[in-house]
Symmetry: D2
Subunit: 371 residues, 4 copies
Amino acid sequence: MTETMLAARMHHVGEPMTLDRVPLPEPGPHDVRVTVRACNIVPNLANILKNWTTWFPQNPLPALPAIFGLDPAGIVDAVGADVHGFAPGDRVYVNPGRHCGDCLACRRGEHINCTSYAFSGYFGFTASAPRMLDRYPYGGLAEHMIAPQYSLVKLPDNVSFEQAARFGYLGTGYAALRKARVGTDTTVLINGISGTLGLGVALFALAMGATTILGTGRDRDLLTRVEALSPNRIRTFSTLDGAIDTWVRQTIEGGVDVYIDALGPGAPHEPFQQGMKSLRRGGRAVNIGATAGEVPIEVHHIMDQQLQLLGSCWFTAGEGQDMAAMAAAGLVDLSIFEHITYPLAKVNDAINGVASRHGGFSNFIITPDEK
Amino acid sequence: MTETMLAARMHHVGEPMTLDRVPLPEPGPHDVRVTVRACNIVPNLANILKNWTTWFPQNPLPALPAIFGLDPAGIVDAVGADVHGFAPGDRVYVNPGRHCGDCLACRRGEHINCTSYAFSGYFGFTASAPRMLDRYPYGGLAEHMIAPQYSLVKLPDNVSFEQAARFGYLGTGYAALRKARVGTDTTVLINGISGTLGLGVALFALAMGATTILGTGRDRDLLTRVEALSPNRIRTFSTLDGAIDTWVRQTIEGGVDVYIDALGPGAPHEPFQQGMKSLRRGGRAVNIGATAGEVPIEVHHIMDQQLQLLGSCWFTAGEGQDMAAMAAAGLVDLSIFEHITYPLAKVNDAINGVASRHGGFSNFIITPDEK
Amino acid sequence: MTETMLAARMHHVGEPMTLDRVPLPEPGPHDVRVTVRACNIVPNLANILKNWTTWFPQNPLPALPAIFGLDPAGIVDAVGADVHGFAPGDRVYVNPGRHCGDCLACRRGEHINCTSYAFSGYFGFTASAPRMLDRYPYGGLAEHMIAPQYSLVKLPDNVSFEQAARFGYLGTGYAALRKARVGTDTTVLINGISGTLGLGVALFALAMGATTILGTGRDRDLLTRVEALSPNRIRTFSTLDGAIDTWVRQTIEGGVDVYIDALGPGAPHEPFQQGMKSLRRGGRAVNIGATAGEVPIEVHHIMDQQLQLLGSCWFTAGEGQDMAAMAAAGLVDLSIFEHITYPLAKVNDAINGVASRHGGFSNFIITPDEK
Amino acid sequence: MTETMLAARMHHVGEPMTLDRVPLPEPGPHDVRVTVRACNIVPNLANILKNWTTWFPQNPLPALPAIFGLDPAGIVDAVGADVHGFAPGDRVYVNPGRHCGDCLACRRGEHINCTSYAFSGYFGFTASAPRMLDRYPYGGLAEHMIAPQYSLVKLPDNVSFEQAARFGYLGTGYAALRKARVGTDTTVLINGISGTLGLGVALFALAMGATTILGTGRDRDLLTRVEALSPNRIRTFSTLDGAIDTWVRQTIEGGVDVYIDALGPGAPHEPFQQGMKSLRRGGRAVNIGATAGEVPIEVHHIMDQQLQLLGSCWFTAGEGQDMAAMAAAGLVDLSIFEHITYPLAKVNDAINGVASRHGGFSNFIITPDEK
């Protein structure tokens, strides 16, 4: 008798998900099977489901019907023959990034630059990404999922599954800060600091030792709440009150060392441009936001002032393991998030509900073992 | 009796230079005096003299009347009390970059990121740059000049003064390649490869071991001449024949590792945009060209594909010394340049004449000791 | 009917190999099967077979009877279901390095720092390495072998299988030069420059743009032959004629930027110590040689002069692919090697014969398809 | 009438200092004059004065009679004509490092690798260092001193002069941690954690985000006091209780990422060797301690395990400014030090008294304005 499991699947683009009973998958030799205990409903999921095929046709979805779900956490329940580092019972976060293993980037160890890089349960980044989505057609919106051993992050006891399901957005911020070489010798500007992405950037910039963190957003109440995380090191500014670069240069003579764009979909171009103009000579910008379209950028200014504009896409499982160690050591405080949980059967409610969240402090989570 | 020297000076913006007799300057404790033997008339000089105050008011000119001249080479004829590494008789190139020594960037050893960084005999990069232009008001269009010891590059015997006077544009290319981490693991695209700047990028990319160098320009004859520098490793394409990124992706599967923009003033935006789209996932672009205005750039694409867009401004005297060692070792062939020389008295002819040069192979040089 | 193949195997430590007929292995989903066309008999193989279990008990051999053979090249003849980048008919070098995929180093993309890192057909580097040797119990001394896709290097047409079978020692040199950040701004000292390892370091240092390469050894004829590779950039010195550091400091004022130790087993400690003393302030040393035992090192001198002593173990398949591109572009000349070939049946003769080679120019190769 | 000042000077090697009245020096164009308010009596000063000429003859002392004093802090009271970044009244720490400005390292911006690098008021690092000691013959054991603008660190209000006079040992630790690339992805072992040097390493490793800090020493009471700085992240071990590497590997599976040697003069070789054996595969060691003589090191182990042994000498004024920003932001707590102050007239008492200090928590300070 074949075992089965429940999974939420989208059958056609833009349609609500249905709860389907599908065969319980078996792990391959390098894979593990995870009992999903929490999966994040990230704010962008609704866009992926409805608009991605038209907005970003170069970013293919998984073959439909598909199990979506970007950021799962749970318990290993079975392992393949060649898995040595993980065992049933391990509490893990599953990094959804999938790489092919044989392109030049993979053979260099630059997994995220894989020419077939894809997010299981979300979408792919290149024309050949469907090969990875076909190989691992499992997102976190199901009772179980299969994941390669290279994607796992072992969780410390003081990180809950709900918190771990936030690792995707947190890790995106962490990796951006690393690319910008943020440390004890840097000041940082974060556009969108009170959002789901920006709040994580702030938390990890604090842990990495940034001496001053400037943050912008619109909602003054949320900004005040962010400042309270470290009154000594965080200062915020509402874009309703003026231009970002004017404020930055008034606050730090010469400008900031690093600018991280963490604004969400639909952001206008001005904050991005003002962020670039907030940099000191020799400063670095990293884009992890959703600012869309062609942003007019003075490349002559970038040259003259030796600026850098870096793209950063997600984070590695190794970086995820570092984040787990940081949480275990008390370097980041994940207790600031409130978790709004839904059972798997209410996944469509959760996807719709996330739009009404109150800034980045809210975490929308599916808990498949909840009935 | 005060000694004097001849110097070409501009008295008012846009006016021709006049040949003036001025006092022979004495070096300060950390300075040397150089008898100028060759000074490059770089293609952009006419723009600096006529248009800079309106095009780039944030980049101040030296106080007028001023001795211009960006790229001098000559012989040390006097040294200050604290100079130990150079002595009268040394053949040198003078890097025009001047830094303050006490801003944070300077105290970190990042001299080009100095908040008062300026080019002696050319212009400054920030509002406080005039302090450096006032401290070193000497360009190369004179019989002698004062330069700080930190700016000197000792020349090997096999580099002529005329060749050394090319170091500015060559070094700009070299530093850009270094920022892009070009080496034996990289392919490179150079926009404007047959120009004064691009040709130097190609020469140094060859020396640094780039396996394949793709170059674009317009003039097919010049492009053929560039290909002949290394038929095995250089391939070129005229932008008259189509889109750059289409050609690049047909030539190298997945795109290039590195893209260097070396186009001159007045370049349209399309080649820059096509250069960005020519990069492989994880690729790096460096801008050292003169593409002006706000270039529409898809920052979402930069993020998704983990691209980098880096600005690079000039090069250090240390990098200049490395270039001298490369020339001494035969790693770069500086004999490819033809030198069109003028005496100091004909400096205005040289400035006008440079516009009619035939690509980057021509080198317009003032030789102040020529009568 | 099960297919079979011929393989040379060692049944007990120190015994000669026997030619055994064994089952033809099938590739797993991420693996390929390669028809071996050339496998290097590296100079150290005799030590591995006879002495490793006593010299380096922390470095486990494969379970006996075992197929040894470190550096194979051949033709892909079958591929697993998840292999996309390679296909039957591809000419490849097989990097013998095997990593687990799930330790922290692997999840960071630092494959060589894997806590179970092992060389298929040779030995492992840690107590847990046998798991990798058991998973891939195939060296190159057989008609066929199984290798993971991540280990392959696609060969250009101008690299023969015999030359490719040299990639192990060449790549070890290349990776060392990369760790030392050798480029156009560096001078290099190579101890053991005329040996199997040192000669490769010299070839790749030339390609990477090192301006001056100093090499030491004993045999003056061999040193003269090495100098002839680039009379302009290579200078050599016989250790029979004095101390290395004295010669280096006479040749390059202040010392060299980089020192690579490539001496073979049995080397005395003095050359290593003299190499360290040959470095300029801020210089870097990389050890890839076989100098054994505890070398007395003045760590206070390392501190005072800001020196670095770096260990480098082998090279990645990505670096191997870069080497292939360098060979294709003509950046390294692999035609300098002479190949002494043996059929598989004479493997013991080859292992004994390698001791009588004449410096690093000789390449001892098993060609399993030769009858 | 020439103004004068009081200065403590040593007239002959090993003799006590005498309090001399000497002319008040005037700053050169790039220099400032500082009224010294605090100067550290570092534990090694007695060795410098008595033993350096025999222990390390390659490290020249300043010409006698000389004003010693490595780590001064005070108030700028006069500035030279070319000083723009500092003004009378500024509270500053004076980094004693002096570089020539025209050697290749200086022209690269690598000031500490200067071929004439010297510590004003202490000693030089090379045969040509006396030129720098002659140029700046001023240590901190005087009422005033001259310092180049490049050596200054502006102090925030919350850092006292006594605390700033500790910056030398703190900065040595900070720079070592930076060379080791310590951050939120690293565990660190510090040998000598309770000493004057090691305690600073611990403080800054905490600020830089190291997740776990292991420290060794002898005195169990002092180790307990160090652990109390961060009970969650610091663990200590007395070398009286066993071998360091055994303890480290029991505590962190696979070993530590980074090992910093901060042991004082007279340390035996075993702790250094055990530190090297405590590193994980791919780990980095940095030596800033005083372990003397030739330490037997297995270079084959360094190669096999891809270890790095890095020397680090002091820190730049830029790094000092970062430390000041860290203190201002509350990232390091400098209140843990107790200050034992002496007037200038009692300098010999202070030098003798430092030997009886109780670990790194004690700070012996000369306060020249104290009567």
